[in-house]
């Protein structure tokens, strides 16, 4: 039996549960703990049904078991407000933390763009940006690798049913975090992010539009090729990622119109926005796990602050 890296999911909500389903399929990851704060949580019961150990005492309930159970990777799918504390406690024990909140205390990670570069750097906390960021930053990076992008703008449209209370309370954080990542990971000199929630029934599948303004006349052939190559990369972990229209070239504007359909593991297929987060987080963990198993990556506990 091939060895697997043991992991814990913090937050048994929609994202945590969908993530659990993906982790259960992984050849290199073994989910062993689900952490929540509410004893009556359906998510905790679902995790128990799948054979995981659970605690309703939050991260503090997990800490005594981390070393004994060999937990090496943890996913935080709770909220930005509590993430820093969760992360500190876990990284002190040498656990790699993958942050699915907008807290972004660690570097941004968009797998097809910069995951490989992050792997060798000894990072103990990486942030998955936002759903809109995961869907669009690969496109911005593809274009900016061909020629400089002066301005990158994304418009993410999600169905009302797939926007939970966390998203709604953090709408400003969504736009700010995504804009920063458009610049830092996407490579645009300046970024802007817009998010729209649409209540249409039946629920709309996530749509993402990317508008780039290149500094000089866009090389249409090279950019088109780069876009298609990047779409293929994303489809390796998000098969429902599709180019609907474009690229459109209009002066220095390059526009790409995308759709993201989920796998339907736990979340419905229209929640492509949530699925791309869990898929990207799982993919990130798998790459780290492969590195750990091959002896290339050694997770070091982060020293307690004096």
């Amino acid at each position: 039996m091939t060895p697997k890296i043991k992991c814990a999911v913090i937050g048994p909500g929609n994202i945590g549960t969908d993530l659990l389903y993906k982790l259960s399929r992984s050849p290199v990851l073994e989910p062993v703990w689900m952490v929540g704060v509410d004893a009556t949580s359906e998510g905790l019961q679902r995790a128990r049904d799948k054979g995981l150990k659970t605690t309703d005492q939050g991260v503090d309930g997990l800490l005594p078991h981390v070393l004994i159970d060999g937990v090496q990777i943890a996913f935080d799918a709770t909220s930005a407000y509590v993430h820093a504390e969760n992360s500190r406690k876990l990284t002190e024990l040498g656990v790699l933390v993958i942050d699915l909140t907008p807290a972004a205390i660690g570097p941004f990670c968009v797998p097809p763009v910069n995951l490989a570069a992050l792997l060798g750097r000894g990072e103990m906390n990486v942030n998955m940006v936002t759903c809109g960021g995961q869907a669009t930053i690969p496109m911005i990076a593809a274009i900016s690798r061909v020629q400089p992008v002066q301005y990158g703008e994304i418009v993410a449209t999600i169905s009302s049913r797939s926007a939970g209370p966390g998203t709604r309370r953090n709408i400003d954080e969504f736009t700010r975090t995504t804009s920063r990542a458009i610049e830092q990971v996407g490579g645009a000199a300046r970024g802007k992010a817009i998010i729209i929630i649409n209540p249409a029934e039946p629920p709309l599948v996530m749509r993402d539009t990317v508008h780039c303004l290149t500094e000089t006349e866009p090389d249409q052939a090279k950019i088109t090729a780069a876009i298609h190559a990047m779409i293929t990369e994303v489809q390796k972990y998000v098969p429902g990622y599709r180019l609907v229209n474009g690229p459109v070239f209009d002066g220095k504007r390059v526009s790409v119109f995308l759709e993201v359909k989920g796998l339907g593991d736990f979340l419905p297929r229209y929640s492509g926005n949530l699925d791309i987060m869990t898929a990207a987080a799982a993919r990130t963990a798998e790459m780290f796990a492969e590195g750990i198993l091959a002896g290339r990556i050694d997770l070091k506990p982060v020293a307690k602050a004096a």
Partner: protein
């Protein structure tokens, strides 16, 4: 609305001098509250909605110092603008913030409305595309906004779709449900020529704030034309504080000459109201028709069928391309 909704038919290209001339004219005519920003609110400057001739800071900075009685309002759409924009507007002397959401998504406005209230601004919750939710649902959304700190809630007919009976039912329901101190407002578009009638109906059911624009300068077939609304109010004995002849002169002498095209219920603007499509989509649809060969009317009907909401201008080009491909035009 002349200087904010009016930015849509001007493609957000109003000059500072135009803003100054209109604002001082409105002030002199007795208009108490003048909204100034990019058509899509603070932070609207973008590829998606259009880059304006000047920043919100420049527009607000040009207008606010010139006003003697009128106050200035700024629109903010969460998801486009942020609390940082709100703080900027406050620092510039903006008096009123209007936080706008789609009429079923009020809970995205919590952080903005509560901050505006903390900053002691006149805080308005603005429920857009109000034809898309029934009265009961609108009441629950209005209550959320009131709970966050809004002292006024608007029912907004962004598509110019509503008819007077619907306006009465919805304004009446919201008026009855909110606290007596919370004002109710109505924002009309003239796409079915109902702007004035709907506004009168709203007043009769308890609205105390009505949006209007000189010469109707606003998205689609325009907002409720202010000079017409004032004339009707005078006839009906409704006090507005606005001088009819002065507002007519602003409309005729300053606003009409500024128009890039006549604000009228043309073939496409009528369809906005008929199919229930966000009014600011009009010029985008016309440009898509010119580029892809799909008639704007058919494009707008398709966008209505798909249930597009305010802010989804990107889907106009997307739908046009999909339809053009299906027809073998591209």
């Amino acid at each position: 609305m002349t200087l904010r909704d009016g930015m849509h038919p001007k493609r957000h290209q109003m000059t500072l001098d135009q803003m100054r001339a209109v604002a001082t004219g409105l002030d002199a005519a007795g208009v108490p509250l003048i909204e100034v920003t990019h058509g899509d609110g603070l932070g609207g400057s973008s590829v998606n909605y259009g880059f304006p001739a000047h920043t919100d800071e420049e527009y607000l900075g040009a207008v606010i110092p010139l006003l003697s009685k009128a106050k200035v309002s700024a629109l903010l759409i969460p998801g486009i603008g942020t609390v940082d924009h709100l703080r900027m507007a406050r620092a510039l002397g903006v008096h009123t913030i209007r936080v706008a959401t789609h009429c079923t998504e009020a809970d995205v406005s919590e952080q903005h409305i509560s901050l505006a209230r903390q900053l002691e601004m006149d805080t308005v919750g603005f429920l857009m595309m109000a034809h898309k939710a029934d009265a009961t649902h609108l009441v629950s959304q209005a209550r959320l906004m009131e709970g966050y700190g809004a002292n006024c809630v608007y029912i907004t007919d962004s598509a110019g779709y509503m008819l007077p009976e619907e306006v009465k039912a919805k304004i009446g329901a919201v008026r009855a449900a909110l606290k007596p101190d919370t004002e109710v407002g109505f924002h009309g578009h003239h796409n079915l020529a109902m702007g004035v009638a709907n506004s009168v109906a709203a007043v009769e059911c308890g609205a105390t704030r009505i949006d209007a624009a000189a010469a109707g300068l606003g998205a689609g077939a325009g907002n409720t034309p202010m000079e017409v609304f004032i004339a009707v109010c005078n006839r009906m004995g409704i006090e507005t504080g606005v001088d009819l002849f002065k507002i007519q002169d602003v409309a005729e002498d300053i606003v009409v000459p500024m128009m890039d095209h006549p604000i009228r219920i043309d073939r496409d603007a009528l369809i906005l109201g008929y199919a229930g499509v966000y009014s600011s989509f009009l010029l985008f649809a016309k440009r898509a028709e010119a580029k892809y060969g799909v008639p704007a009317r058919e494009l707008l009907i398709e966008l209505g069928r798909r249930g597009m909401v305010g802010g989804q201008e990107d889907m106009i080009e997307d739908a046009a391309m999909t339809m053009a491909k299906a027809r073998g035009l591209i």
